[in-house]
């Protein structure tokens, strides 16, 4: 294994126990159900999926914020699945997380200076003021912001502070969970550009967890599509966006509205909702909503297999070929 592998998840599962009313029986939410996932140096991997797909849970398992139910987590070539407490500190220097809601993830009673000092302290370092100012400068803020408190900032600025905090320990990999979904469109673009700049300047790699496929297309060079706790398709972003092989990816992409009045689009409107991850369908998790589903789909869950021999892989018995994409699916169903 080369050290170029910043993150390697092997057959990771994460189940959550269900606690209902005392007189009802408990079950388990299979949030992540057998995922293999690799991030190499220099990559920006988009992890997309709808609510309940398990993408955020996967991000938390990858950053060791959650313990996996099964499988292993390797960070920087080292198995850290069982590493806990203090011993996690060197791991945290390699991988950091940026959260969706900067309002909730910054302590309102701490000044920006204190917020930025905390990650240094965790590594046993006393940062100089110059170091803190440099962090702020990297995210487009300045020295005058050091003494202020989170409530004095706008949403976009708060997200910059969240990014600066993650950068403090000079990580190789930043896992961003919906970093722009709470922001206004005009501010969202600023943060996306900042992420791109940091990648170029600091050589950072990213896992970008998002539900907005347009946002991911703008920054990711690799894409992984999740559905009901599994990755159903992954590959180079350009390839997946232009020629999605999984019917789900195709439907997902076709559903995103485009700011182009009168644009003719072959929209595939899926019927129904994502099934519950407590009791997912047998075989292919997508078969209950799939316009191509046949009997075989209900038998064994399809595994990721290369499309046309490349890095592009899809878990489907009947993947779309580029020829299919020019015409709408035969059995398009509408509600």
């Amino acid at each position: 294994m080369s050290t170029d592998e910043l993150l390697h998840l092997k057959d990771v599962k994460k189940y959550f126990g269900l606690r209902g009313a005392p007189w009802r029986k408990a079950g388990a939410v299979k949030a992540v159900d057998g995922v293999n996932f690799v991030v190499r140096r220099g990559e920006t991997v988009g992890l997309v999926g709808e609510s309940g797909s398990g993408k955020s849970t996967l991000a938390r398992v990858a950053t060791r914020l959650l313990d996996p139910t099964a499988g292993t987590v390797e960070i920087g070539g080292q198995d850290v699945t069982r590493v806990r407490g203090r011993k996690l500190r060197p791991v945290r220097r390699k991988i950091q997380m940026v959260f969706q809601d900067p309002q909730a993830s910054l302590n309102p009673r701490q000044s920006v200076g204190t917020i930025l000092t905390t990650p240094f302290r965790a590594q046993g370092i006393r940062p100089t003021r110059a170091q803190l100012v440099e962090l702020l400068r990297q995210v487009g803020l300045s020295e005058e912001h050091l003494e202020r408190y989170p409530h004095e900032f706008s949403g976009g600025q708060r997200q910059r502070i969240g990014i600066a905090r993650a950068l403090a320990v000079k990580p190789d990999l930043l896992v961003c969970d919906e970093p722009v979904s709470a922001l206004d469109v005009s501010v969202q673009a600023q943060v996306l550009n900042l992420l791109a700049d940091l990648r170029d300047d600091l050589g950072l790699s990213y896992v970008l967890v998002a539900h907005d496929l347009a946002v991911v297309r703008q920054v990711a060079n690799r894409l992984a599509v999740m559905y009901l706790g599994t990755i159903v398709e992954e590959g180079p972003a350009a390839e997946v966006y232009s020629a999605p092989a999984h019917p789900y990816t195709r439907a997902l992409l076709s559903a995103v509205p485009v700011p182009e009045p009168g644009a003719k689009r072959d929209r595939i409107v899926l019927t129904g909702d994502v099934p519950t991850p407590i009791d997912p369908p047998s075989g292919c998790p997508f078969r209950t909503r799939c316009y191509k589903a046949e009997d075989v789909c209900a038998t064994v869950r399809p595994v990721l297999e290369p499309v046309a021999g490349g890095e592009h892989r899809v878990a489907c018995y009947f993947p779309e070929s580029p020829a299919d994409l020019s015409s709408p699916p035969l059995s398009e169903r509408t509600p």
Partner: protein
């Protein structure tokens, strides 16, 4: 619903275990006390012979575990203290025998219960009405005079000890204005009017104290509820303000109020000690207090267990009612 039945059965089973543990704990605590109930019963002068006789009669010469087991057996089979003509019979369910009062504990509790029930239930109805009405009013008139008065009233209610308020009420309404009787209890079966007339002051005193918490709780819940999106939806549907409050706002406040109410009532049924003392009412609280003074272990254990049972039962009822009132309970 079979789910619910199972839940209730499981909880009742747990209740039995808790009661067992509790009764044992109470026994151990009183056994550890340096005082000797037999000495009190033996009177003065008390020869060692007589003391030993008394001990034997009261079965205090046995080990604590033996006494406890005898107590448990008594619940199902009844007990007999002493032998022959002097024997004292305590029929099942026997929760012990009070020698100072020369009555079985079960009889004592059953005798005293109507008094406590009358005080507690009457006061509860009053404070619920008072608390919820004032609380809702205060929330709807937030910041206005009504709100300030209601919140001020609540503050006074919370800050005033019940015996002080009780004594004041007796002084003002009983002696100065001579409007109400100052003490005593008339059974409901004897004369409903006299019953209520004798209880009106304790009811008002207890209700004032308790309503305070309900005003604050209702006000806070109502303010929160009226800010929720579904209230705006109700208005957007074309519901009038009165309907919005009564049908949509109050519905959400009901759940926490009922929860607290059930627990409060359960606790109060075990005896409103101070109120009963102040108004000289022979309720369960008064029974417990005098029993403690006389080291009447049997009564203390009996009343304590009975109160604990009421609290546990109230918890169970509240849980079930909660599930009925809030459709979201019982789902992931």
């Amino acid at each position: 619903m079979p789910d619910l039945l199972w839940f209730v059965l499981r909880r009742l089973f747990a209740t039995v275990l808790v009661m067992l543990a509790l009764s044992l704990a109470v026994y151990l605590i009183f056994y550890a006390l340096p005082a000797d109930p037999a000495r009190l019963a033996c009177g003065k002068p008390c020869t060692p012979d007589r003391l030993e006789q008394a001990r034997h009669f009261m079965q205090l010469d046995q080990s604590v575990i033996q006494q406890y087991l005898a107590f448990l057996k008594g619940i199902f089979a009844g007990r007999t203290f002493g032998e022959g003509a002097a024997a004292v019979q305590c029929n099942a369910p026997c929760f012990g025998y009070s020698f100072p009062l020369a009555r079985p504990v079960t009889t004592l509790i059953v005798d005293r219960l109507p008094v406590t029930l009358s005080i507690a239930i009457g006061a509860a109805v009053l404070w619920l009405l008072l608390g919820v009405t004032l609380g809702v009013g205060a929330a709807l008139k937030r910041g206005k005079l009504f709100d300030r008065l209601a919140v001020g009233f609540a503050l006074i209610g919370i800050a005033t000890p019940s015996f002080l308020l009780g004594l004041l009420a007796i002084l003002v309404f009983g002696f100065w204005l001579n409007m109400v009787p100052v003490n005593g209890y008339v059974p409901l079966t004897e004369s409903p009017v006299d019953w209520a007339w004798h209880l009106i002051t304790p009811w008002l005193v207890l209700a004032t104290i308790q309503a305070a918490a309900y005003i604050r709780l209702t006000r806070a819940q109502m303010l929160e509820e009226m800010n929720l999106d579904h209230i705006t939806t109700a208005r957007a549907k074309g519901a009038g303000e009165r309907r919005v409050v009564a049908v949509h706002g109050l519905r959400g406040v009901l759940v926490p109020i009922v929860t607290i109410f059930g627990l409060d009532l359960g606790a109060l049924l075990g005896g409103a000690i101070l109120t009963e003392k102040v108004f000289s009412m022979q309720g369960l609280g008064e029974l417990l207090i005098s029993a403690v003074g006389q080291l009447d272990v049997a009564v203390v254990v009996g009343v304590t267990l009975f109160s604990a049972f009421l609290v546990i039962l109230a918890n169970l009822v509240v849980d079930v009612v909660h599930g009925v009132l809030d459709p979201r309970v019982g789902h992931a």
